[in-house]
Symmetry: C2
Subunit: 681 residues, 2 copies
Amino acid sequence: MVMPSPLPLLTCCLLTTLASAQSNSRELNLMPLPAAYRLGQGQLSVDHHFFVTLSGYKEPRLDRAVQRFLHALSRQTDGSDPSPCIGTCVGLGVHTGHASKPLQELGEDESYTLDITPSGAILNAGTPLGTLHGLQTFLHLVQATPTGYAVPAVSIQDRPRFPWRGLMVDVSRHFMPIDSLRLTLDGMEAVQLNVFHWHLSDNQGFRVESKKFPKLQSQGSDGHFYTQSEIRGFIAYARDRGIRVIPEFDVPGHCTAIFAAYPELASGPGRYQIERQWGVMDPAMNITQEHTYTFLDALFGEMAALFPDQYFHIGGDEVNGKQWDTNPAIQKFKQSHHIKDNAGLQAYFNRRLLKIVTAHGKTMMGWDEILAPELPKSIVIQSWRGQQSLADAARQGYRGLLSNGYYIDLMYPASQHYAADPLSGPAAALTPEEKRRVLGGEATMWTEYVSPENLDSRIWPRTAAIAERLWSPPNTADVNSMYRRLKIISSQLDSLGLTHNSHYIHELERLAGSTDIEALKVLADVVEPVKEYTREQTAPYPATSLTPLNRLVDAVSPESDAARTFNAEVDSLLSSPAPATMADLRATLTAWRDNDAELQPLLQSSFLLKQDTVLSTTLAQLGATGLQALDYLEHNQPAPADWKQSQLAILEDAKKPKSQLLIMVAPAVQRLVERKPSTAK
Amino acid sequence: MVMPSPLPLLTCCLLTTLASAQSNSRELNLMPLPAAYRLGQGQLSVDHHFFVTLSGYKEPRLDRAVQRFLHALSRQTDGSDPSPCIGTCVGLGVHTGHASKPLQELGEDESYTLDITPSGAILNAGTPLGTLHGLQTFLHLVQATPTGYAVPAVSIQDRPRFPWRGLMVDVSRHFMPIDSLRLTLDGMEAVQLNVFHWHLSDNQGFRVESKKFPKLQSQGSDGHFYTQSEIRGFIAYARDRGIRVIPEFDVPGHCTAIFAAYPELASGPGRYQIERQWGVMDPAMNITQEHTYTFLDALFGEMAALFPDQYFHIGGDEVNGKQWDTNPAIQKFKQSHHIKDNAGLQAYFNRRLLKIVTAHGKTMMGWDEILAPELPKSIVIQSWRGQQSLADAARQGYRGLLSNGYYIDLMYPASQHYAADPLSGPAAALTPEEKRRVLGGEATMWTEYVSPENLDSRIWPRTAAIAERLWSPPNTADVNSMYRRLKIISSQLDSLGLTHNSHYIHELERLAGSTDIEALKVLADVVEPVKEYTREQTAPYPATSLTPLNRLVDAVSPESDAARTFNAEVDSLLSSPAPATMADLRATLTAWRDNDAELQPLLQSSFLLKQDTVLSTTLAQLGATGLQALDYLEHNQPAPADWKQSQLAILEDAKKPKSQLLIMVAPAVQRLVERKPSTAK
């Protein structure tokens, strides 16, 4: 085996910055893009004799990482296991400077350099965390070339922009099997996210085995919980991938599942059952009785030992105070303690909770409602209500992270999340010192409408765009480049076994009860679930956690690639009417116009699809409208005013939700009718 | 919970036979089709309150089967877990008569009846084996209807035609991870196969941990072997699914991997290495020395204890005798023992092996070469060289099973395997008693060109057609019906996590090094790997077990659905020239003609695809030829003789393999040119 000789560490002046690299047509196929890189000449072959050597600091985690790297490499290339080198082989020399912290900490060195030349590659990292990231970068650079699998010659000097790059998964509203979450960790590693925030307790379920309070899982989980042994295994799996695991136990609201086990903790009387509905509920802990603190001290003590990370999330959001207001003892307590309102009461609770969390050696964090001047600067605020609260917190000396803008449950496109920058908006005016208090951000996967079946397609690939926002320099902001690379990382995530792409066809077949789904796919490809919180408002009947998630809205992607492509083609035609674009659009619109006739029998054959009848006829109408608009365009005729008026009325209706879905091509058809190109860049 | 009242067992006179059922437009969407069934009126709703009750004989395996059933039901329907019944619920009452054998045996009762009415369903089985099959049948009947998920009202009386319905997987030529094989078992359960034949040892690897001879795995497996603990877990997993596990240790040929560990067992001198090539090799055990029998007695003793099944497969195929002929001691042994040829020598070996296998309590089986008059009638012959040997064996009093015709590695279409009947051809003339000696058959998945990546697509869905041949009555033979139902079971197998469908796009993306694969897919959809053993003959360089399986030939399906559809459309046009068919064919042929221009840049960009250049240009030519033929047809013109001659020359060339692939639409284009409908029904 030939060990490539070490290259000198790159100095910064050799490197182009990202902004100039992006104007290079040879932009790297990476997401996230590295902090800085310079393309070289030629490429390094990666065949099945390719090898990896480890030097410097060593630990079993690095050996496992290399094994995983080689296995992923083989899946990504020839599907065979690497075989021993015979003759001259090339490879990747990995040098790790020293150990990382025994328990992964916020702000550890995650940087690395990767130098690839035609004769070998060197990955240099201060700690195993950087090594893990560098291996992922190398892996994603591998591609088929005319002469074999290879990585381009390049010098990369990389480090994350923010030290806290997270994904929260809510396993209370819908329980997610531990295997699905391990796959989620695999995906997170691939895009270099480093915090898994586990929303373990809410009204709909308490999901952790407690040995001190076993009724929590026996009465509060429907039998769907993680054993402590599973959790320990999961944390070890995450650590192997450079990911911290933060538990969240949401108190004093959002804990009806706890009350189902221990009703005496609540502020209102009566038995409690696991909540099946969504939304802000009245039940809240009685935070004026000592028993509540005795319970929390014991429970959090047990959980603090189970979850080794320094940070401990206590939720703290959305307490409506109704149970407090109607409990005379609590009212009396407020008076006797001179607490003037419920916010004050919650601040009192948080001060006491802080003592408990601190006594168990943890740093407390919570949603932005917990921010109150009485709390010490050590706590961390997770901003979900807006960027303002993050900026306010930083100005007051608190550390915080952004989740507002990263709510992937709201079904917004990747571009919208990509535009949300933790240091933009109100945070842009912060001083450098205040800015350093902005630790990063977290995508939040709330699971009201997410099942184990579609978890992957709700998280991926959009979360990769958020990962890039949190890792790459702020000027990494070209949306077209982002979408080009998002498609590539999405396919690479397939290799890990994530099902965001592969499951789609299967879901359509299940809906159809048939394998003849071509017409259904034509429709499904151009629709998206309704946005924000309109799914509740557009529901034909009140949904609960027991309502099956088995409609077209649950199968389609949060973001329609076909619609984005169509929108771009319409804009291209309106700015310069090329015949090829005209022909393409005509073919697409014709297919939509004619699809309904083929699809209707299938829609009528399945109770799951019958509700999509109007959706399908509307798409046919959009096809017809678009074709007529193209005719006028092609013959350089102005569209008759009455035609235009009638079509615009149709279009207004077409843009409204139908069976909780939006036809995403309607606005572009409208632009064809109005002959107005999109104002969006 | 409402328990449906038991229905009387069906009597045969109430049931239509399969032949008449097939003419019914309401044919069941099942594969294999049941032995007999009668459709009723209406349907039984299956919502998420659906429940299952067990009565009669109970054991933990049945509880697990019901859990698995409910989980599969939820995946197949709404993706949610079943919730407790509130109010009036309907369900499936399962009654099992008595236990099956502690160790699953050949010929146990696997029958069941399933009666579904709108008010409930009853599954009745003599043993848990029948219960397992009946649950699968119920599961596959569930479909989306206009009023909800439901199963049709039907009375099924089912039992397998043959007691031995197997799948052999060769894990020597390419090692398959145990998880992949568990998924294979899941698929086998779905199509009611009941024997997993594990080809564990061959020239290319010995794949079992031996505690007595640890060099077998350390020297003979490249580190790719199953631990005894893994094997025990695998056997338990199979038993839960009504599947027996038969190990095969191929001797005295096909065991170079054993010689790599213990060269003294071979007939020729020298050190041995794990074989990397395919084919019949010279090395064979020295079966004239006592040491060989001492070794086999110890090894088979260990393996007989590890694999509890009654049957033990000793291979015995393809000994070319060259090492025996050149070993003077062996020649001397033959003379002194009056053995006249190598067949006699192997018969001597088999007699001694039989004693060893019998002493360890097992029934010996082997490939048809082991058939020799000296062996007792207890052995079982697996016929791979032709149906004649199976009939001969049965006539001589031996039990046997058919594999000839079920070699799924040879890339033949499902219809061809479907046509192979263990009791047809030479076996048709057997007496009823002789016919009973034909136990069934086994699909054989030899893995020269199969990796863990494409194992699923090589086995599924074609093996489902073989499963039906072995389960259903012999008159279940309608090929159109088979293909219609094969598509459905293929999609149902997806639900288990098998990747025969989902992996295809991913493989194309990997080949392309890009996600823009539409043009590549147009080509890939109409080609199939070369058939029989021509892959060796058409290889650009000698392939070994280390050669990556990463070409288009490894990604495409063994059977092109698109080509079958095209062929049928051409035949339809030639027998009655409907304008819609004409338009369809024209669109398809135009797409093929124009595809090459789009595809060539991609082909040139990847070393894996460059070799497919001619394949793509040939498809374009076929498109052009077909379009011209359609023009003549449409205008009722005879095609000019010289045009026809030139096109037929082109077509002859188009039908030849290119980069180890066949363009499966060439024959149909030829029929268009010649205006001759296919003679096939």
